[in-house]
Structure formats: structure tokens, C-alpha cells
């Protein structure tokens, strides 16, 4: 997720796919695990879904440093807020604190964030906070460079009132599709499900995901799959 070091021609993209989806009773957050510095994969198993409070998590994209510092500040403010209030903070409050930091420091920060969580007043909620610090409450949100390939997919596949199973499967499928097409996304798929009962983390290794169009099965050697129709070299 770091901006390329030394490679002046490398695109300034947010190498990530992050997703947040509401379902009937909670939310599911999902992300890939690739952190790239230009063409080098700095971390192939990173955890981009960060805890803010027991009931609110945040998906990070863009500059790793920027998104980490924002999450650290918000975690600190929310902790104090929880103590003052005497009860867990709501998702809305968490999202508002994030957007105040994003907006007021927009000149220095480069990070797109998705906040998702569950509270007893509003249930499961997703808030998208893209680059400039806009805050938008959405039934689902996508972000990162890989999300470009998912707009059409969600238009077709998203529906209101899914079950937890359906939502989780949708998220895993979507991240997997984005990984297939986006060079800056890859690795494993991590999901975090938040509802009234608590938080569940799930992990889907990269080689266990379904294969999509034109994707090859893992091979020992590509020579094994070269077509037999090609002429043998050097036959006397």
C-alpha cells in the first residue's frame, strides 16, 4: 500500500481491495492482504481490517502509514468517549471522528477508509470515507485500486436483506475477483463479521479461492500444459 519508492513512473494507486457490506443483523468487512512498494510486495499477508473498538472495525487503503496513524488517533478518541459515555460508542461517532481527521488533514493524507460495525441503536452500519474526507453511509462500500473492477459486479450481485452466509460469500467472491484483475491486490482474503453477538474473523488462503475466467490452476511447471499440437523441434 506504500507509494512506490524511487520508481518515478509507477502509478500512484491505492494497491488494495477493501469491501464493507451490511446484512440483516450486522456487517461483513473484507480485504485482500497485499502491501506493495511499487512492484515489490512488501507484505503478502497484511491485515488491513483494523479494530477501532470492540464493535467497530475499519478497512484501510491508500498510504499504509497514513491509514495507520488515523486509526491510532481514532482508537484513542473512541476509548475516551466510551469511558465518558459509559457505554460502547456508536458506529456513526467512530465514522465521524475518522472523517474529521481525513477532511481536516486532506492536504497531507492519502487514505480511503471503510468503517463498519454494529451498535444497539442502529444495528449494522457501513460508512465510506474516500480520499477527500467525505462521509457517506451506504448499504455497502468498496474501496482501493481493486474496487474499480467491482462496481459492475456489485450492481448486479448486491441485494438488500442478505443473510450472514450470503454476505460473507459475496465479500469473498468480490475480493477474489478483484485480486484476479488488479495487480496491486493479492494474497489472502480476510473477513471480519460484526453483529450483536460479537466479532468473527475469517481467513481464506489465496490458493483456496475459486478460479475465474482464464485463471490457471496452480502448476508445478507450465511446460505440463503447453499444447501438444506445437511442432517438435529438431526431429531428424
Amino acid at each position: 500500500m506504500d507509494v512506490s519508492a524511487g520508481d518515478l513512473n509507477a502509478p500512484h494507486s491505492m494497491g488494495t481491495t477493501i469491501i464493507g457490506v451490511t446484512y440483516d443483523g450486522g456487517v461483513v468487512l473484507g480485504a485482500d492482504s497485499r502491501t506493495s512498494t511499487g512492484m515489490y510486495v512488501a507484505n503478502r499477508a497484511s491485515d488491513k481490517i483494523t479494530k477501532l473498538t470492540d464493535n467497530v472495525y475499519m478497512c484501510r487503503s491508500g498510504s499504509a502509514a497514513d491509514s495507520q496513524i488515523v486509526s491510532d488517533y481514532v482508537r484513542y478518541f473512541l476509548h475516551q468517549h466510551t469511558i465518558q459515555l459509559g457505554q460502547p460508542s456508536t458506529v456513526k461517532v467512530a465514522a465521524n471522528l475518522v472523517r474529521l481527521l481525513s477532511y481536516n488533514n486532506k492536504n497531507m493524507l492519502q487514505t480511503g477508509l471503510i468503517i463498519g460495525g454494529w451498535d444497539k441503536y442502529e444495528g449494522g452500519k457501513i460508512y465510506g470515507i474516500p480520499l477527500g474526507g467525505t462521509i457517506l453511509e451506504q448499504p455497502f462500500a468498496i474501496g482501493g485500486s481493486g474496487s474499480s473492477y467491482l462496481y459492475g459486479f456489485f450492481d448486479q450481485a448486491w441485494k438488500e436483506g442478505m443473510t450472514q452466509e450470503e454476505a460473507e460469500q459475496l465479500v469473498v467472491k468480490a475480493v477474489s475477483l478483484a485480486i484476479a484483475r488488479d495487480g496491486a491486490s493479492g494474497g489472502v482474503v480476510r473477513t471480519v463479521t460484526i453483529n450483536s453477538e460479537g466479532v468473527t474473523r475469517k481467513f481464506y488462503p489465496g490458493d483456496k479461492l475459486s478460479l475465474w475466467h482464464e485463471e490457471l490452476e496452480p502448476q508445478n511447471s507450465l511446460l505440463d500444459i503447453l499444447s501438444t499440437g506445437s511442432p517438435e523441434p529438431m526431429v531428424s
Binding site: 465518558q84 459515555l85 456513526k92 461517532v93 465521524n96 441503536y121
Partner: protein, 249 residues
């Protein structure tokens, strides 16, 4: 029950040998001598009422309001020194708007009460400040339902289902205790508050008074507002009738 605090009552930063801070107690007396202020929590909201003693016949009715809106969802009724009360209200308004701009949600009434109490208490800690000579009853309606708090000049704040301060507070409290508040709606509550205030008003000692009332309830869409004129008139009429009934005994 006034004790002479000779020597220990000159500064708010001095304790007496029996552990009292007399300046704060004297501040409370300012509240005790003011017009009665009543607040009740009904099942669907809060009703606040004030016995606004009219000092001059030339005062315009509706002026010198004693009940102020703090935020969309909460209001404060003030007793004691009016100017001091205005400061407390100003601080409460400022806390409420500041909270909302940072946290993105209306300030929970409990949090507001704590902040106001904290501020009032602050002014009892320094010798170069005097305590506020006013107490407030704060009523609000947030996500956790309607809530009523009272803040005294000492900075103490408690949550109540019925509260009264000012001259007629003892009689008012007795009346409030008789009410079944958990079953009452604000519509009925308005009438009861009016009856209480008319009831505790001392015709002999004080001349005229104006009844000021406000509410935050489901009917007012959880917004704090003056009780609508028609309902107010209805309440006043009922209160006057109840008085006459009592006199007739």
C-alpha cells in the same frame, strides 16, 4: 436552620471545621429564594415549568424567559440569579454544539448534565471566582429516552423523575410524589405541572406571576419547545379551577 459561619464563610476556598463550604451554601440560598421551578419525567417525555415572579407591571408578558433551549432535544429551566443562569445556559449550548461537531451525534443528556455540573463545580474551586447563584433543571430526550437532571450551585447533579427548586420546592415535591409519572403522558403532565405551580404560589408574599412551561416529548417530535399556547391555556384554566376547588373546602 441558618448557622453562622463566622470567619469560615468569607471565601469559597475555605472549609469550616465541620467540613462545610459556607459560600456554596449561601449560593444555594439564592436559589431557594427564587420563583419555583418544577420538572417531571413522564412516560413519553419531560415537562418543565417555572413560576416567573413579575417584579413590574410594565414587563412584557413572555419576556425574561426562564426556560431556555439548549439543543434541539433539550431545554433548561433556571432558578436563582438570572444572569448567572444565563451563563450556565450559554455554556450548556456551547458544550452541546461542540459535542455534535466532534462526535456527529446529538449530545446524550447524561453527558450534557455531567459537563454542565462540571462547569458549575469548577467555579467553586477558585478564590477569585464566585459560585453560580443559580440552579438548573435540565430536561432532554435522546436515544435512551427522556431524562431529567438537576444541577445545583455546588456542582452536584443527579438524575430525577421529578424535581423542584426555589421557594415552593417542598410543597412542589410533595405534590410530585403523589403523581403516577410512569403512567402519565406529557399532555397530562403539563396540566399537573401547572396545578403544582399555581398551588405553591404564595399570594400573600408575592404579587403576580407568569407561568412558563416547556416540554420535550413524542408529541413535540422529541424537540424541545414551548408548550403550545392552546395547551398552555388549557393547563392554566385547569390549575385555576383546582385552586378554587381547594379554596372552596
Amino acid at each position: 436552620m441558618s448557622s453562622i459561619g463566622t470567619g469560615y464563610d468569607l471565601s469559597v476556598t475555605t472549609f469550616s471545621p465541620d467540613g462545610r463550604v459556607f459560600q456554596i451554601e449561601y449560593a444555594a440560598k439564592a436559589v431557594d429564594n427564587s420563583g419555583t421551578v418544577v420538572g417531571i419525567k413522564c412516560k413519553d417525555g419531560i415537562v418543565l415549568g417555572v413560576e416567573k415572579l413579575i417584579t413590574s407591571k410594565m414587563m412584557l408578558p413572555g419576556s425574561n424567559r426562564r426556560i431556555h433551549a439548549v439543543h434541539r432535544h433539550s431545554g433548561m429551566a433556571v432558578a436563582g440569579l438570572a444572569a448567572d443562569g444565563r451563563q450556565i445556559v450559554a455554556r450548556a449550548k456551547s458544550e452541546a454544539t461542540n459535542y455534535e461537531s466532534v462526535y456527529g451525534e446529538p449530545i446524550p443528556v447524561k453527558e450534557l448534565a455531567e459537563r454542565v455540573a462540571s462547569y458549575v463545580h469548577l467555579c467553586t474551586l477558585y478564590w477569585w471566582l464566585r459560585p453560580f447563584g443559580s440552579g438548573v433543571i435540565l430536561g432532554g430526550y435522546d436515544r435512551d429516552g427522556p431524562q431529567l437532571y438537576m444541577v445545583e450551585p455546588s456542582g452536584v447533579s443527579y438524575r430525577y423523575f421529578g424535581a423542584a427548586i426555589g421557594k415552593g420546592r417542598q410543597a412542589a415535591k410533595t405534590e410530585i410524589e403523589k403523581l403516577k409519572l410512569s403512567e402519565m403522558t406529557c399532555r397530562q403532565g403539563v396540566i399537573e405541572v401547572a396545578k403544582i405551580i399555581y398551588g405553591v404560589h404564595d399570594e400573600a408574599k408575592d404579587k403576580a406571576f407568569e407561568l412558563e412551561m416547556s416540554w420535550v416529548c413524542d408529541e413535540s417530535n422529541r424537540q424541545h419547545q414551548k408548550v403550545p399556547d392552546d395547551i398552555l391555556e388549557e393547563a392554566k384554566a385547569a390549575a385555576k379551577a383546582a385552586l378554587e376547588e381547594m379554596d372552596a373546602d
